[in-house]
Assembly symmetry: C2
Homo-oligomer: 351 residues x 2
Amino acid sequence: CVSVSVSEHQHLRYNPLRDTWVLVSAHRMKRPWSGQVEKEEEDQVPQHDPNNPLCPGNTRANGEVNPDYNNTFVFENDFPALQPNAPDPGYNQHPLFQSKAARGVCKVMCFHPWSDVTLPLMTLPDIIKVIDKWAELMVDLGSTYPWVQIFENKGAMMGCSNPHPHCQVWASNFLPNEATLSDRCQREYLKTHGEPLLLQYAKMEAERRERVVVQNADWLAVVPYWATWPFQTLLLPRRHVQRLTNLTAQEREGLASIMKRLLTKYDNLFQISFPYSMGWHGAPTGPYLKEDQFHWQLHAHYYPPLLRSAGVRKFMVGYEMLAQEQRDLTPEQVIHLGNSITRNQAMWGGQ
Amino acid sequence: CVSVSVSEHQHLRYNPLRDTWVLVSAHRMKRPWSGQVEKEEEDQVPQHDPNNPLCPGNTRANGEVNPDYNNTFVFENDFPALQPNAPDPGYNQHPLFQSKAARGVCKVMCFHPWSDVTLPLMTLPDIIKVIDKWAELMVDLGSTYPWVQIFENKGAMMGCSNPHPHCQVWASNFLPNEATLSDRCQREYLKTHGEPLLLQYAKMEAERRERVVVQNADWLAVVPYWATWPFQTLLLPRRHVQRLTNLTAQEREGLASIMKRLLTKYDNLFQISFPYSMGWHGAPTGPYLKEDQFHWQLHAHYYPPLLRSAGVRKFMVGYEMLAQEQRDLTPEQVIHLGNSITRNQAMWGGQ
Ligand SMILES: O=P(O)(O)O[C@H]1O[C@H](CO)[C@@H](O)[C@H](O)[C@H]1O
Ligand SMILES: O=P(O)(O)O[C@H]1O[C@H](CO)[C@@H](O)[C@H](O)[C@H]1O
């Protein structure tokens, strides 16, 4: 248990999923802010915009017409960062000038036919349809690609350029850096401690209850002990589940429900449609489907940029980029001192 | 040499300083942008603002009055993320809940008495005074602290909350993540290849000339082969120099001159006072002063956020945070295809 004196002073915390440290400066929230303030008001989004390429029935950049879809709709990204056919840069390279082929596909997935909803505003059956489609894409793309990254950039602050509720799915012929790192850390943890890292972590967090934001029978959302973003959360199944595709029907229902509760809590925090980038990490696929991946536990990371209010974000800049990530309040403060950060809630987490 | 076909397709490049890969999607600049646009106009900054705590003669948050300084001025950060006296969190911790003491000091260094100048607008003698003060702080703080991070957050977009030209210096009793990583990579490179990584790299870049932005007798600024930010640069001495404190008077003059040219090029790119976070990396100090650090080469990283114009930044969000950093044009395009990005210059680099 972290003692009171420590939680009042700066200290380092270890991120066992990335083998890095974060500098936690407990009371830096006190400093005045005269820096950049983000635009708080979002433009009113119409339910259907005839010019939005993501809406049902509209024409996209490549001339294709979207179907009149009722729930989710998946299409190929018209400006993909990854394509299936890139040539190989060739071998015999100097160690300081190394390149490798990158091949893959980029898909966009609309969550709902309406532009004016977000996941927390959708019904549970509609959220379950999103989860089912995620699993379906993992099966399809994961049959050949070693890594399938499902991620959502929500809000203009997170580089989202279209307000229609959607996520992206980028599949690649390589394991990205973050996947490689997480794989190594989970593998070594299992070897040393005999239990999958995140399975043990979820159990301990459920017992300690200090950092739990929301939970139900099958899932747990915590502000991880090593969180870098102020309101960062980690969403974990309680059972050992290696991939999205392994979730039972009941676990998908539970996931829809906990996502709705977590995202509603985010929206309520500063009374804004809360911006974030989120994504799923699970055991690698493609050739790895045949290998033992017992060390992996499925999880989602939520990285929201806000710090003090709907308009003031945490900047991960100079010190963070060049030295080490730094946060201005402890993860426990986020849960327990919710009332000094928000104005409308006694406690953000603990449910 | 990178072949034409590769430079037109996405590929991966290896960052030997961080042992990571970056996804380079050469032609993603073509995609239309309808996302967040930053405020382009900066408020006119007065030369002296009686309410700005960084100006000469003004009173700061703690009641102290700034001297009537003529060039640089250094003071303790009034809201430090690191303080010298934090208690130790104690031992016998669970591997998933590890913390460590973090001790240090945070200083602020004003570059100039006027608020309406920036480094590229300052005279060479005034920039040399900044460099001399950096070296002085490295001597002072580096005598005990293993890592002294000098960094500048420039522009509101980079979380800078005060327009007065200044940088920060955070000294810590630990090696931050980025320092540890860079130390390991440089150490292993020397062991395997017999020459310091960045010394060899500077020589090869000077020969190849494909990614050079500016150079002079003692220094070289390149968009590194593995750059993640669109206009990222790496500033390197040509001689083997391990720390800022080892620079000769002539090298300091050359540094002032190349900094002025590099930063002027940045400002000219989109006709704006160019935002960035920058910082120095050199051999660790304190107890490491007594150890062999031959593998280290001093260098500065410049990380500017802009992508297409003064108002459109590169968002390092979903895929970048969860999988791997991705860039939308090649480092060579930044240098050679300058005219399709900027409107006012045939070529950004190559001088
Ligand atoms: O110290 P400042 O300028 O108030 O703060 C700025 O730089 C710090 C160090 O990179 C960051 O932690 C802050 O998020 C940023 O706003
Ligand atoms: O694909 P989008 O939504 O156009 O683009 C957004 O997400 C991408 C993946 O994280 C980033 O590379 C872009 O910088 C960001 O603007």
